[in-house]
Amino acid sequence: MDGVNGMVWPRFTKGALMVFRRDFLSWVKYYKSSVLLNFGEPLTNLLALGFGLGAYVTKMSGDPFVDFIGPGLLAVTAMNAVTFDMSFEAYDRLNENGIYLSMITAPLHPAEIVGGEYLWEACRSLLYGLVFLVVLLPLGIVHSWWALLLPLPLLVTGMLFAGPALWVATAAKNHEQLFYYFTLVVTPMFMFSGVFFPLAHLPVVIRDLILLTPLVHVVNLTRALILGQFPPTLWQDILWIVGYTILFMALPGRRLSRRLTD
């Protein structure tokens, strides 16, 4: 049987598309409240920090402060939209309301469930990222037509953060353990990934450690596209993003497979 010894890669099949469809149908019912939830925090950050703190810190590495943090917060919004759904919601689908358990009685493979979830999270990331972009537009933060390319990194970002969060959801024994993921991983990443300040002046060791995490590279890429400034190291960010996305993709499959068919 697959899924016991080897890695279980997601399968992007017709069945996966139907899992995607179930997520979409469910989202349509709740999008009003869920959009508010996912925007509340980054928008508060943008307004309070960008214009509040921004009144004192006027420039950040040459850009107006609000211009600096806006694109970073866009990346964070996308990450959070995906992470919340793939941790708390997926935990419930597995443990509380049994949605995965009902899916698995049909001719669906766990890897197709993972595939469908990834497709949906890619779309979620795109959706929430683009709506945030629309918020940035009237604030005059979008400086470049390159921003039109944002859908591509947003789709990839959705896949990137879906894997680890779903892995946590399949491993967690209760909701409290999911909070650890946020406290120990998501929030520190949010604080230190160059969203609020550039990494240039941090000690090299710390900077290198940060560069080993995924969010910083997404932040660099969204900032480049929105501000139209392309640092010579941007190709490295793109490589990191693609690399991590592929690497993380296989994270939850095996565990989900075991949870559903054991």
């Binding site: 019912k29 358990l101 049909a106």
Partner: protein
């Protein structure tokens, strides 16, 4: 079975020996050191309703999960609809409908969406899934609830919706894991009627239940299992006659001292056995009338006693004992 009997009015395309839908030989499932299923042999014939009866923890659900290709067997063989059962066996799963113990309905979706999407999981086109959903909502008498949220449904409606969902893929084998637990009598009767209708259409039904009256009504054949093993198997009526006899005498609220006096009069030729079922003392014997006459003559007949037909419940209690299971 006689093949050319003139009384046979059956469809000639139906073979005399029924085809086997599920066949288990030495079926075993271990979780670590715990043997949940410890070598079971049974066959489920196509078109029949087959019952899997046993106390909690007897191994019913594990057996069901192996048949549904939701967990791998540790040893033995298991053939379902002609294919070896194993997780990920799409050919089998595509022909199964599963009513699990828990409802597992999608709280975010409407009644119709819940079953329509399930049809899509079986690879149905949007049109086929929509048509099938309409049919089944009507069949399960939920057509007035089509666009309601699942959480507004009563327990009986939820259960009917779960059955409708299991039927979306037009299953050859319908697996019902405690389909009526927690339902009121009206809802149970409706479920039973639907199961019979499905059987009449040729669907094979595999049923687990705690309700012996349910098993007695629905099952053509059944096995009673405990500790992962089959204790007895057969047709309900045959099991009752063989294991507990045609009838029994039930004496509620009787003092143990009185019982001692009564049992002292029993003779070997009575082939009697008796047990306590809750607060009632129950006596089984093919010789009940003679025993009652004897008690009357001796003037020790209990003031309150019901003579009733023995049932599957008596069989079940006799086979699996009375201590509480969790």
């Amino acid at each position: 079975m006689t093949t050319n009997a003139p009384t046979t009015i059956a469809n000639p395309s139906v073979p005399a020996t029924p085809a086997v839908a599920v066949s288990a030989r030495g079926l075993t499932k271990q979780f670590g050191n715990f043997e949940a299923v410890a070598g079971m042999d049974f066959d489920v014939y196509e078109g029949e309703c087959f019952g899997l009866l046993g106390p909690n923890g007897a191994g019913k659900s594990t057996t069901i999960r192996m048949i549904c290709c939701l967990t791998a067997r540790t040893a033995g063989s298991l053939t379902v609809l002609g294919e070896p059962a194993a997780p990920g066996q799409r050919t089998i799963k595509g022909q199964l409908g599963v009513v699990s113990q828990e409802d597992y309905l999608d709280p975010a979706l409407t009644v119709r969406e819940n079953i329509e999407i399930h049809g899509r999981f079986y690879g149905q086109s949007p049109e086929v899934a929509a048509l099938r959903a309409t049919e089944l909502l009507e069949f399960m008498q939920l057509d007035g609830k089509t666009n309601e949220q699942v959480r507004s449904l009563s327990g009986g409606m939820r259960r009917r919706l779960v059955i409708a969902r299991a039927l979306m893929g037009r299953p050859r084998l319908l697996v019902l894991d405690e389909p009526t637990t927690g339902l009121d009598p009206q809802a149970r009767i409706l479920v039973w009627r639907k199961v019979r209708e499905l059987k009449a259409e040729g669907v094979t039904v595999l049923l687990t239940t705690h309700y012996m009256d349910e098993a007695q009504r629905l099952c053509d054949r059944l096995v009673v299992i405990d500790h992962g093993r089959i204790l007895e198997s057969g047709r309900p009526r045959e099991l009752i006659l063989r294991l507990v006899g045609r009838e029994c005498l039930e004496c509620p609220d009787i003092a143990p001292a009185v019982v001692d006096g009564l049992t002292a009069t029993l003779r070997p030729e009575d082939q009697a056995w008796h047990e306590w079922q809750s607060d009632s003392w129950v006596l089984f014997s093919p010789n009940l009338s003679a025993i009652l006459d004897r008690w009357d003559t001796a003037g020790i007949a209990p003031s309150l006693a019901y003579r009733r037909p023995a049932g599957l419940e008596d069989v079940f209690l006799r086979l699996t004992g009375r201590e509480l299971r969790d």
